[in-house]
């Protein structure tokens, strides 16, 4: 079971966090600080698994971002590596050559995509196409809503 997902930039800035187990806000910051320290200090040729507090953390570096997922000791690390890669590919497909900036400005979209991918800490959708389809459907709904909201008549209706 995946306990949390963390995206950290090379400089230590947090880009995305998703928690599948209950952690208080203070615990969260503490965890983030600790893990960033450990992972950012690892050299490039080392293996992608870190043992931390009895759990395992699998991380992979894409460009300047580190994607980290924390799993139990019994889980299969290679599988999680594939999950991370899966996620990155979906992001790539969605944003079209995703870069860190995309994630910074559209962080909520990254969240929604992640939600389609993992539920309750388990992977639920292993087909990229499906995820892309779902997200775009959702986007369309949002767009429709926005259009409606943006229309002048609506604003007037609201105001009165």
């Amino acid at each position: 079971q995946i306990h949390f997902v963390l995206l950290v930039s090379r400089q230590g800035k947090v880009r995305l966090t998703k928690w599948y187990s209950p952690y208080t806000q203070k615990e969260r910051s503490k965890v983030i600080r600790e893990l960033s320290g450990v992972i950012l200090n690892r050299g490039p040729k080392l293996c992608n698994f870190v043992e931390w507090r009895g759990y395992k953390v699998v991380y992979k570096r894409y460009a300047s971002l580190y994607f980290c997922m924390c799993i139990d000791a019994e889980d299969n690390e290679l599988e999680v590596l594939e999950i991370i890669h899966h996620y990155v590919e979906i992001l790539d497909r969605y944003f079209g050559s995703v870069c860190e900036l995309d994630l910074i400005f559209n962080f909520h979209k990254a969240y929604y995509i992640l939600d389609e991918l993992l539920i309750a800490g388990e992977i639920q959708e292993s087909s990229k196409k499906t995820v892309a389809r779902i997200i775009s459907a959702q986007d369309q709904m949002v767009e429709a809503a926005k259009e409606e909201a943006g229309s002048i008549s609506y604003i007037i209706a609201q105001a009165s």
Binding site: L16, S29, I123, A144, K146
Partner: protein, 856 residues
């Protein structure tokens, strides 16, 4: 006015983009300012504004750790909007910030219900996501029916998510099983791989917690294992089988074949391969072919360049190491090579593997290799190495070590390794060996002398414990040393002022022992009537100095006096006291020494004084067993035969909570009854005090139980074989260390210093009450669900009934055993226990007869 305000605000509200941009430019004040804005905006009525504000807030909370619990109510409001965009933002905020303590949790229920029943599948999926994240008991209970409906929904998306949610719901609200389980299992047969992977994932988690209840579903899993081509699914199924096979050995046989099939495939994914290997190692390790195949594949992993694979290969090897050491030995070179890899993880794994390989023959060689590595590596790893060398060597009272001299010199070497920080363990071992292994004391003294003489070591604070051990050993076994003068000098050298006071006190006391010994030797050497004494000492092979001339002894005494004079005024009372003790003693016998030189009178006062002092130090200190307290024999004539059964009832309540709280700690919990039970087997082993003593002791324990040392329980005696010789010489009186308590040249068969090992059959019968009552109810629910499933598989029902019966059986047994504890009789309990175990075994034996039939 209010509406126009909102109009203005919505026109000028900072969107999320602006917030982010602003954050990238400026920092902390910007956050607080925007927080202010957000607080204002979020209270407005306009939902769009609210939602944007909420979005900004969740951004801040996610990435900058800003607390957003205060906005819970607003999140609920946003969620109630009919607009999808708002809903999404709201649910996201909720999933992120709600916890069990959020007060507005109740308000969510209705909203969730509405959304779960909505026709828009995306809304439903949103709600499901949220439920998965924040589900509490109440929510789970209330929304079970909706989840149930959704499990059968036609839309794959919804079904998938519903399945995922089921996991959480089951966890919080086990009764949901009755409702949902059937559908869940139906999904196992679905052909849609996505669905399948979700279901299997759920089962994987459930099985991890409680494998036995899902055993009946094994046939379905087996089908999936054989048919499916999807890697994700296969991995999960393998995990399930790993858990199932460990409790059901016949399953292992069946599963081994498909697993091998998968492993042999050409381009099988590495993750799948690894999972297969792991499954084989952990649960199928009895299957020959599978095991050999897995080991072969592991070899490929180990030689691969990818550090991931190397690490995983080593890790897998360490799983299999305890049972199948040959696998590790085959790959020895790879492991050694991995020690010099740059990745610390890999190195660590390799280290552990090396230590697993250690046995009597190769311990020297391996330690040599490891020490070389230690010298070359960074401090952290160096200490790891040292620690991992110390551990196995000291295991089971040094059972691996044949050559203690070598080991002691190794310990001395370790002290000199620059980064060594394991002072405490080395100290402990030095002293330990000194007290237990008589023959090694010579070497011990030699090593200690080397350590003490070196002034450089005094500067290294990590070494202080080692130095204190060395000092103690030198003092205690000074008769083995070549030159007591040297030792005394080393103990009192000026640089010892760097030592902390407690250790300094040890140094001084050891110097005292040296002094006494030297004086004793001097005086006895002077004795014309005791040349046999001198001869004896030389012939015993100890390198002892008996050539104390007047000059040498007086220089020794002077030197000590000089060294200690300055200390008699120190601040630390311990040091001061000891210094003064010695000085006083010296003062007393100083002129005796001078007299000695001139006269030949053997019975001077001084001589007598020395003799007294020698006696003081002549008691040999031995290791103390932690069960010594219990074994103290009671004086004769004490009538202790009363039956304290009546007190049993009264004291049960007192002891029970104590026992349960102690369970988690290392101390073994006990109750009065247990102490009093000695049965036949125990009586046959050599031992200890009669029943009467134990009752009195038991009574005392009742009152002051928590303060007693952990005890060796009677059950330990029952279950451990061949420990008779160990338990016999628990605490021999000091001056009577019998010859047979030491094995020649090897280690002593002596008391196990650490008690341990709770008897398996003992505590678990309390477990069902104490812990995981939730899991119990879940598994029971699952079983009833399986029983009442009516899937048309008669046999399955039978199995489940068996399962159920067995469960009920064990419950009955537990109850009866609990009842038994109330009326204790002497041997009855253990015999009942053994019969219960038999019954338990029987039950589990009859069960598997059914299973293989299904797997046809």
């Amino acid at each position: 006015m209010a509406s126009s305000n909102s109009l203005m605000d919505s026109l000028f509200q900072r969107s999320l983009e602006d917030l982010i941009k602003g954050l990238r430019l400026g920092e902390s004040t910007f956050i607080s300012r925007s927080l202010e804005e957000i607080r204002r905006e979020i209270k407005l009525t306009d939902l769009s504004t609210k939602s944007v504000a909420l979005q900004k807030l969740s951004y801040l909370a996610a990435l900058h750790g800003v607390d957003m619990a205060w906005a819970a109510f607003h999140a609920v409001e946003v969620v109630s909007s009919s607009r999808f965009a708002h809903k999404r933002i709201g649910y996201h905020a909720i999933a992120q910030s709600f916890s069990d303590q959020t007060p507005v949790m109740l308000l969510i229920t209705n909203q969730l219900r509405k959304d779960l029943n909505s026709s828009n599948e995306h809304e439903v999926s949103l709600a499901l996501e949220c439920l998965a994240r924040i589900g509490t008991d109440d929510l789970a209970r209330d929304l079970t029916s909706e989840v149930f409906t959704l499990l059968g929904s036609s839309k794959a998306l919804v079904r998938k998510k519903a399945i995922g949610v089921v996991l959480r719901v089951f966890d919080k609200y086990p009764d949901a099983v009755k409702v949902c389980f059937k559908r869940l299992v139906e999904n196992l047969e679905s052909s849609d791989p996505q669905l399948l992977s979700a279901v299997v994932g759920v089962f994987c988690e459930l099985t991890a917690k409680d494998p036995r209840s899902y055993l009946p579903l094994a046939p379905e899993f087996y089908k999936i294992l054989v048919d499916s081509r999807n890697n994700w699914v296969l991995i999960k199924v393998l995990k399930i089988f790993a858990k199932l096979a460990s409790i059901e050995p016949r399953l292992a046989k069946k599963v081994a074949d498909p697993v091998c099939e998968h492993m042999r495939k050409q381009n099988v994914g590495k993750s799948l391969l690894f999972e297969c290997i792991r499954t084989v190692f952990s649960s199928l390790s009895d299957q020959e072919t599978a095991l050999k195949l897995a080991v072969a594949k592991i070899r490929e992993f180990l030689v691969d360049d990818d550090p991931n694979l190397k690490y995983l290969g080593l890790h897998a090897l360490s799983i299999v190491a305890p049972k199948h050491l040959w696998a590790v030995l085959e790959n020895k070179e790879a492991v050694v090579k991995a020690m010099s890899d740059e990745d610390p993880n890999v190195k660590l794994e390799a280290l552990h593997l090396l230590m697993a390989m250690v046995n009597e023959d190769n311990v020297t060689e391996i330690s040599r290799i490891l020490m070389n590595y230690a010298l070359k590596s960074d401090p952290l790893f160096c200490n790891e190495i040292i620690c991992s060398v110390l551990l196995p060597c000291s295991r089971n009272s040094y059972e691996i070590i044949v050559d203690f001299d070598w080991y002691l010199s190794l310990l001395g070497e370790m002290a000199r390794v620059p980064h060594c920080q394991r002072g405490k363990e080395i100290e402990h071992q030095l002293i330990d060996i000194g007290t237990r292994v008589k023959d090694a004391r010579l070497e011990l003294v030699r090593v200690s002398r080397a350590l003490l003489i070196d002034p450089a070591l005094l500067g290294n604070q990590f070494l202080y414990p080692i130095l204190s051990a060395a000092a103690w050993a030198s003092g205690e076994y000074v008769e083995f040393s070549k030159s007591p003068y040297e030792i005394a000098e080393a103990l009192l050298q000026p640089r010892t002022c760097l030592l902390p006071d407690s250790i300094r006190a040890i140094y001084i006391h050891s110097a005292f022992k040296v002094l006494v010994f030297s004086l004793g030797a001097y005086f006895s050497a002077q004795q014309p009537t005791s040349p046999p004494l001198a001869q004896e000492s030389t012939s015993s092979g100890h390198s002892m100095v008996n050539g104390f001339t007047y000059n040498s002894i007086s220089s020794l005494v002077n030197m000590i006096e000089l060294g200690l004079c300055s200390l008699s005024g120190t601040i630390d009372v311990e040091v001061q006291e000891r210094a003064k003790n010695i000085l006083g003693f010296i003062g007393m016998i100083k002129h005796e020494i001078a007299e000695k030189a001139t006269s030949q009178n053997s019975e001077t006062e001084g001589h007598r004084a020395i003799a007294f002092m020698e006696d003081v130090f002549s008691e040999e200190l031995g290791p103390v067993s932690s069960t010594a307290q219990e074994k103290v024999p009671l004086p004769e004539g004490l009538e202790l035969n009363e039956n304290l059964e009546g007190l049993q009832e009264i004291c049960r309540e007192v002891l029970e909570p104590m026992a349960e709280s102690d369970y988690s700690s290392d101390k073994v919990s006990f109750s009065v009854a247990k102490l009093r039970i000695r049965d036949q087997e125990e009586a046959s082993s050599s031992l200890p005090p009669p029943l009467e003593s134990s009752s009195l002791l038991a009574e005392h324990r009742k009152r002051h139980g928590l303060y007693y040392l952990s005890s060796q329980k009677s059950e330990d005696h029952n279950d451990r074989e061949g420990n008779d010789n160990n338990t016999s010489n628990e605490y021999p009186p000091a001056n009577e260390i019998s010859v047979d308590s030491f094995k020649p040249k090897k280690k002593i068969s002596k008391p196990r210093p650490v008690v341990v090992k709770l008897d398996e059959g003992d505590e678990p019968k309390r477990k069902p009450d104490a812990s995981s009552s939730n899991d119990e109810s879940l598994s029971r629910a699952i079983q009833t669900a399986l029983m009442g499933k009516g899937k048309g598989k008669e046999k399955e029902k039978e199995i489940v009934k068996e399962n159920h019966e067995m469960n009920v059986d064990t419950e009955n047994i537990e109850q009866s055993s609990r009842r038994e504890k109330k009326n204790k009789k002497n041997g009855e309990r253990s015999s009942k226990r053994s019969s219960r175990r038999q019954r338990g075994k029987e039950a589990s034996v009859t069960k598997p007869v059914e299973v293989p039939d299904l797997l046809l």
